[in-house]
Structure formats: C-alpha cells, structure tokens
C-alpha cells in the first residue's frame, strides 16, 4: 500500500485485534475427530466433500454479512433476499430458457435489495437492525405472493453444476468460495477502502473525522451483502434444482452463527472472511454430525440458537476482557 490510510490512528494495533483462527481450527479438528470416531460414514471422501460444499454455500451468504457486521451494522434481510433472488432467477430461466439472463436477474434483485438497505441505513439514518428487519418481512411477503405456493423446478444440467457439480473432483461452490475469500481478503487487507470499513466499525465518529466517506463505504457493504445474497440464491437454486418461496427463511440464523463463530464482533471493527469460513465449517460439521448420528432435524433450530448464544457470549466476554485491559 503506497499511501497511509487516512484512518491510521483508528487502525493502530489493527492486526493484533483480529480474531485468532488457531483456536477455531482446533475446534474443527476436534469436531472431525469426534465424528470420525463416532460414525463410519463421516470419514469418507463423498461426505467430506459434501461438508465442504455445504460450508461453502453458508460462507457465500455469510460473507457480505461479515463486512456489514465489521462496520457495526447488521443485515437481517439476507435469508429472505436469497429466497426472492433465487425465485426470480428460477422464473426467468424457466420462461426464457437463458441461464445467463436468469442469473443476471437474480444477482440484480439481490443487489437492489442491498442498495435499498444501504439507502435506509446511510441516507435515512435508520438503525440497521430495524431497517433490515422491516426489509426482511417486505421481501418475504413479496416472495410468497409472487410464488403463490408454487415450486419451480428442473433446470438445465449445465446450470445445476454450479451448485451440485464437481470440477477436478472438487465441488464447484468451493471454487466460488475460494474466489470470494481471495478477492475479499485482498480487499479488506490491502486496500484503503477495506481498511475504511474496519475503521468505521471501530469508531465511526473517528473515521468520519479522519476524512473517511462513511456513507459511501456503508452503502458499499450493504450493497455487497445484498449482491452476495443474490449470488448465493443462484448457487442454492442450482444445488436444490428447485425454487420455492420459503427456501431462504432458515438460512439467516446459520449465516449469523457462522459470522459470530468466526470471531467477527457484533460491536464492530473486528472480523475476517477466513474466520467466517471456519465458522461455516464448524457449523456444517455440527449439522452433518447430527445427520450422521440420525438426530431428528427438529433439533436443528435449538442447536443453532444455542450456538448463536455461545458465540455471542464469547464475543461479549472477549470484548469485556479487552476493555478491562485497556
């Protein structure tokens, strides 16, 4: 980086305050070990690839949310956004026969919802959690109305490969996740704009006073979050080979859980995309393990809720300790 970031002061000690990945990788290893011992089916290549595929899908939705939460914001609309974008994409693919057009429509739909969130949070100064919560139910209602209880299914094989296919033996979503992590990692670590996002989350007022265009950076992260929800919608559609109005509803809680487990702080300024991927991996391993142990799927919301609470508790206590030291 040639020029020093304008928020140099706000970023002092920045690398030190990043969440440590080590403990979390240890958690992944422990989960893997436990599942390998408890079940025969876990340590098979198809199952491990399946875990990787599922974790990648969770990561894709959670990636935009990670950046939003780093700015001390929130986007509760991503699950509903994913559902609507996938349904729009499905309808267009079905009607026009063009996968490319459908994907473009899905992506744009996600992006537009993201822009609307950004406008509400930045220009209209609404609190992010209530603005995006209202957006959640608006998008939800529109989607259930649009689909009217129908399911759109059966897509061209070429499109389905985007979600359920393999390339060189590795699931295609894994490549997408790798690309998103690479681009996102470079963006957050090595660009001024990326640093701005952390500075805003750490201390918004200080960021504003040091000349960071807070509004346009926030606009960017909410737009990104919407666009990533749209993109994930397309990949989910390809994976499920069907679209119905409720498909995104159960995905909000896991996305938030993945972000929190990955060490991104709800209080802003701290967090990484690679952490979120590890969070998604831990979450997926847990659910996969429950499946392999034939635990009823009814347990999943309960487990997910407890995981969110534990992760948030860890975040809050870490923050308190840091404050006590300071």
């Amino acid at each position: 980086m040639s020029a020093a970031p304008p928020a140099g002061a706000a970023l002092a000690g920045w690398p030190l305050r990043m969440p440590s990945i080590g403990y979390r990788l240890l958690g992944v290893a422990a989960l893997c070990l436990a599942l390998a011992l408890a079940t025969d089916a876990f340590l098979t290549l198809p199952n491990l690839l399946n875990v990787l595929r599922q974790a990648s899908l969770t990561f894709l939705i959670a990636s935009g949310l990670t950046l939003v939460i780093v700015t001390a914001g929130l986007d509760l609309s991503i699950g509903a956004n994913l559902g609507l974008s996938a349904c729009f994409a499905a309808a267009v693919i079905q009607a026009s026969g063009s996968v490319l057009l459908g994907a473009a429509v899905g992506l744009v739909s996600g992006l537009v919802i993201g822009v609307a969130n950004g406008v509400m949070v930045t220009w209209l100064k609404l609190p992010p959690f209530i603005a995006t919560y209202g957006m959640l139910w608006m998008v939800y209602g529109v989607n259930y109305w649009y689909m009217a209880g129908t399911t759109i299914y059966d897509f061209p094989q070429g499109f389905r490969n985007l979600g359920s296919g393999d390339a060189l033996g590795v699931p295609v979503p894994v490549y997408l996740t790798a690309a998103a992590m690479l681009v996102g990692g470079l963006f957050t670590r090595y660009t001024t704009w990326g640093h701005d996002i952390y500075a805003i989350g750490a201390n918004r007022e200080a960021a504003r006073l040091s000349g960071i265009p807070v509004r346009s950076r926030l606009m960017l992260v909410y737009t990104l979050s919407g666009a990533m929800a749209g993109l994930s919608g397309i990949v989910y559609l390809a994976r499920l080979n069907s679209a119905e109005a409720g498909m995104g509803d159960p995905l909000l809680l896991p996305a938030i859980a993945a972000v929190l487990i990955g060490g991104t702080s709800l209080f802003g300024g701290i967090g990484t995309l690679s952490g979120t991927f590890v969070g998604a991996l831990i979450l997926t391993l847990t659910l996969n393990g429950m499946n392999l142990l034939t635990i009823d799927t009814n347990w999943q919301p309960l487990v997910m809720g407890v995981i969110v609470l534990l992760a948030a508790w860890l975040d809050a206590s870490t923050r308190r300790r840091a404050e006590a030291r300071a």
């Binding site: 209530i130 139910w137 209602g141 259930y144 709800l266 347990w299 407890v306 948030a312």
Partner: protein, 320 residues
C-alpha cells in the same frame, strides 16, 4: 437527573397521548379507506372481530413497548408464545386444570424472558443476538417436544372460556383491556415505570443515582416472556390446540405496532396509548386487506412497509 426528576411519571402518559396524533390519523385514514372500498368491512361483527384478533397482539405489544423504549428488541416473543402454547395444551391434555396449565405456560415464558434479560444485562449481548438465539431455542424446543405435530384434545373448558362474553364483549377483549390497565399503572404510576423511561433516556445517570439498573432492565425482558406465556391462553383457546409454529413471526407484528404507535429506540421515547393505536392500525390493515381479498403474504409485506414508512416520517422530520 435526580430521582425526583425521574419519578415525575404521573403526567407522562398524558404527554404520550398528546404525541399520538400521527398514528391516530393513520388509523382514521385506514378505517375510512376500508369502509369506502371494503364491502362488509364496517359491519359490527367485523369490527368486533378486529378487536378479538388484536387482543393477542396487544398482549405482546405492551411489553415490547417497554423493551423498545430501553433501546432493545425481543425477537423471541413469537417463538416463546408458541412454546408456551404447547406446554399449556399438553398440560390440559394430561388432565391438569386450567390454572395449573396456565401456570406452566407462564413459567415457560418467564424462564425465556429472564434468560433474555440476563443475556442482555449480565452477559452484555446485543438484544437482537440474545433474542435471536432464544428464538431458535424456543422454536426448536417446541418442535422437538411435539415432533412438529399439533397438540390436540385439550377438552372443552378453554375453548368455551375463550368463546364466552360478558356484557356483549368477548373474553379476549376483556383480557386485553385488563392487560392494558395493568401496564398503564406499571409504566406511569410506579417506580418501575419511571425507571423504564430513565433506562432508555439516561442509563448512566440512573446507575449513578444508585439504582440497580441491570435488575430493572432484565425485569423488562422477563415481563416480555411472561406476557408471551400469558398470550398462550388466548392463542390456544382460539385454535383449540397447541401448534409449534402457530406464532412464528408474531413478534414482528408486535414490533410493527409499537413502532407505528410512535415508540422509538432512543431516549425512552414512546408510550402505551400509541401502542394501542398501533396494534389497532396493524389489526385494521390486516383485516381490511383480507376483506379486499389481498393475499396474506402481501399483508406481511405491507406491514414491513408500514414500519419503514413510520421510521422514514421521523427521519424526514429530523426527530431521530
């Protein structure tokens, strides 16, 4: 802020009533609109129906008002109501009396509400994270306990009570009115109520005045859980069964009613009269759209729009 200043609660509800015109106009406009365009909307049975439909919502919106006034949010209320309904129905099916069954439902609600309160105050979680977690836990517990099935066979007692009326007014409206009365006294005529305003307004000053802020703050969430448990009485009576997913999303209607009613997330701003009007506005909107044969999905969307519009009006006026 001294304690004396904090405790001038008596006049506050008149202030709040005086600040209600926004939602009163909205309610009036909705009533006129649906009377003109909705056949059968303005009939006595339908208006009574709106009252009945709104009573469960009011039971949730009253404590939600206090939660939002203290810069919080309770996303778990719908799920806790669902779980309490399961417990209530299961107790009735097992042959316990209504008092015992209601006691069990209240206990479930109180446990979740107290958990929310402790997570927010002691653990220091942001309210949305704490209550999103307990939402998952309550919903999951309801699904696990019932295997996703309805709990039926609760006997004739509760449905008969629910269907009863006194002086021509249905049971649920009496319950809602009693709940309003209790909350009105609590918020405007007790020390607890004065502290609610102060926690939202100037928490640090209250703590410096020697008040155990955390305990009062946690009690607000506990009250929310308790009321969700209490609302199970009406929900189960209405459905004649307990269903694990029956109340999902009801917290959103409650939050919408509170916001539309003029309560805001900052400075202890807001009040109960506005919440009543907000609940009625949400009830009238849903019922009216129903009469106009608008699908229920778009009713949900319109309420989302209503919330954002209400906040926008504030934002444009520059109040927030």
């Amino acid at each position: 802020m001294s304690r004396a200043a904090v405790l001038e609660g008596g006049a506050r509800w008149r202030d709040a009533a005086a600040e209600a015109p926004g939602v009163a106009w909205l309610l009036a406009a909705l009533l006129v609109f649906f009377t003109v365009f909705g056949p059968r909307f303005a009939s006595a049975p339908n208006l009574l129906n709106i009252g009945i439909q709104s009573s469960i919502l009011l039971l949730l919106a009253l404590p939600m008002t206090l939660v939002i006034m203290t810069e919080g949010l309770d996303l778990s209320m719908g799920a806790v109501l669902g779980l309490s309904g399961i417990v209530l129905a299961a107790a009735l099916v097992a042959g316990y009396g209504l008092t015992v069954a209601l006691g069990a439902a209240l206990l479930v609600g109180l446990v979740f509400g107290a958990a929310n309160g402790l997570l927010v105050t002691r653990v220091g979680l942001p309210p949305f994270a704490a209550t999103l977690g307990t939402l998952g836990a309550a919903q999951g517990a309801a699904l696990v306990a019932t295997d996703g099935q309805s709990v039926v066979g609760i006997g004739p007692g509760l449905p008969a009570l629910y269907a009863s009326a006194w002086l021509g007014i249905p049971f649920s409206i009496w319950v809602a009115a009693a709940a309003y009365g209790a909350f009105h006294v609590l918020l405007y005529h007790t020390r607890f109520g004065a502290y609610v305003f102060a926690i939202g307004g100037n928490r640090d000053a209250l703590a410096l005045a020697g008040v155990r802020v955390d305990a009062y703050h946690a009690a607000i969430y506990a009250l929310g859980g308790l009321m969700a448990g209490f609302a199970a009485l009406l929900l189960t009576g209405r459905m004649n069964a307990g269903h694990p997913t029956a109340a999902i999303g009801m917290e959103f209607d409650a939050i919408a009613a509170v916001i539309v009613g003029g309560t805001r997330f900052e400075r202890g701003y807001g009040g109960l009269p506005g919440t009543v009007l907000g609940v009625l506005a949400v009830g009238v909107l849903k019922n009216g759209l129903n009469v106009l044969a608008v699908p229920s999905s778009l009713q949900v969307a319109s309420i989302g729009l209503l919330v954002i519009a209400a906040l926008l009006v504030d934002s444009i006026r520059g109040r927030s």
